[in-house]
Amino acid sequence: MNLVRWWSGLVVAFVLLALLRVYLPLPFAIEILIFSIYTIGCSFLLGRVGFISFGQPAYLAIGAYATAFYLSYFGTNPYAGLLVGLVAGFVGALAVGPLLVRLRGDYFALVNLALAVIIYYLMQKVLVDITHGDNGLELLTKMDSTPVLDISRPGHLFIFVFIVAAIVWVFYKYLDDTIYGACCLAVKVNEDKLRFLGYDVFKVRLTAFVIANTTTALAGALYAIHQGLVSPEMSSPARAADPVVVTILGGAGTLYGPLIGSIVYTGMKDMVSKMIGNWELIVGFTLVVIMLAGEKGIWGTLEPRLRRLASRVTGGKFGEAE
């Protein structure tokens, strides 16, 4: 595999992202990056494995609250907190995965939603003593400065998140190229055939589920550090739309879809909130329009064209199967 070709897409994407930072206010830029990480899990599940989940907020909350609990009650090192969040997500996904992954597509989506609701109520009411319910857990004062990159400061946090995002993207791109990645696509398109070939469909699905939701939990942990406050609202059913919309908007299953989707979504949200404040209207209709127009999303439609263009321009060296 041509190393230059393999890395070229990623390098271009992340250079552009870094440039974006010049034009966008810092909180915005961080938000977009974290949101992209949040979404890539959902996008991977939907676009590659064929599972739609309306309950991604659940895993976001698991990551966020794990980090918050650590920082509130156990330690003050934000890196450790992040690790706790990541591990919590991994464990959580591993725990519920075996049950959920057996379900038919629509049941899967809704049971995940149920999970999000369960966590919402858990954090809001049942565990209110340790979570402070709707008031949320406040973290800003609980984090130590760290050497080299002080992620309790926004400027440095951005750099850190940028690096994390880059790593995540390299990981997912690598995944695409492995046999495992091909298996995922196969599961989506024709799982019976895959079974006949000797692959364990359940294992493929379970692994995808764990990978996607650990990524989501990582985003949750990052949110906790970024926002400095974790409240049950992040797992409320109303928030279930966000990753789905961004996934579809950007193009489900594409590598850069979540990034583009995030940028567009966050931008739109900001613009619309300032103008008419009625956010749901735009989100809802955008979703319907995209679905009816072919469900490929922005990057999903652009990508094949850009590839052909790149291929022609560089005489076939770039742009073919990345």
Binding site: A114, V126, V283, V288, M291
Partner: protein, 290 residues
Amino acid sequence: MLDIQLLTSGFIFGLSMGSIFFLMTIGLSLCFGVMRVISLDQLLYYTVGAYIAYSVSLVIGNLWIGILAGIVISALSAFLVERLVFRRIYERELPFSMITSFGILIGGVGVVKLFWGLVPRPVAMPIDAQVFVLGTEIPVYRLVVIAFAGLVYVGIWLFLNKTIVGKAIRAGIENVEHVEGLGINVSRLFTLIFIIAGGLSGLAGGLHGPLIMVEPQMGLEVLAFAFMVVIIGGLGSIKGTLVSSFLVGQVVSIGSLIYAPLAAMAPFVLMLLILLVWPTGLFGSPMLKK
């Protein structure tokens, strides 16, 4: 501890909640059973039904007329959505209809916000009277709600078993292609089912109004519950929907008597447990691909 009076009122409360769930979820179940689409927008018609009932009752002073108006407008909305959107997506896979109908639901919430604003509105109870049942006071309105659900169930049963269109629908739940091959206009049938679903969802919303406050997000908050009921009962089975509405209603109600914070969560846990044993719900249709 738990005495008869508390249990009675809890039980009736559970029945009335179950009644609302039932009315709300018949539409979902039918749409899936016949058309194999997930119609999350039914919760929009529920919201619309509630709001129209509220507004009309404010102007005219009679909630029942308001509820009637709510049913009509919901059915009309459902009709429009079916013609404009669902028509084009019947052939697609399930996640497609889920995402699209979700978009309609969210967009619709936005429309509701546009007209009525964010503030939750209280709806006046049409019947203030209370009645004594087994020593506890029960609001008559709750009994009326239960009566409505009962009537609707009987009505649906009669429709499905005694009318030719109903029989076509039952046949359609089994195999829509064959119904079409016989020469029956399934396109019209689908539209009819959608209108019925929308109307029933609107009725659910209208009836629910006085028991809660109407606010734009009400459809989203109930979404999880509605789907849980349908999943436990099994998508596509009316009988299943009835049983699980009843079940979930009681779990929430009696559950909140036992330990309030857990009560809202209990149905979800119940659902997870049931799915462990019956992956398609208690009475669900088998996993059919088109």
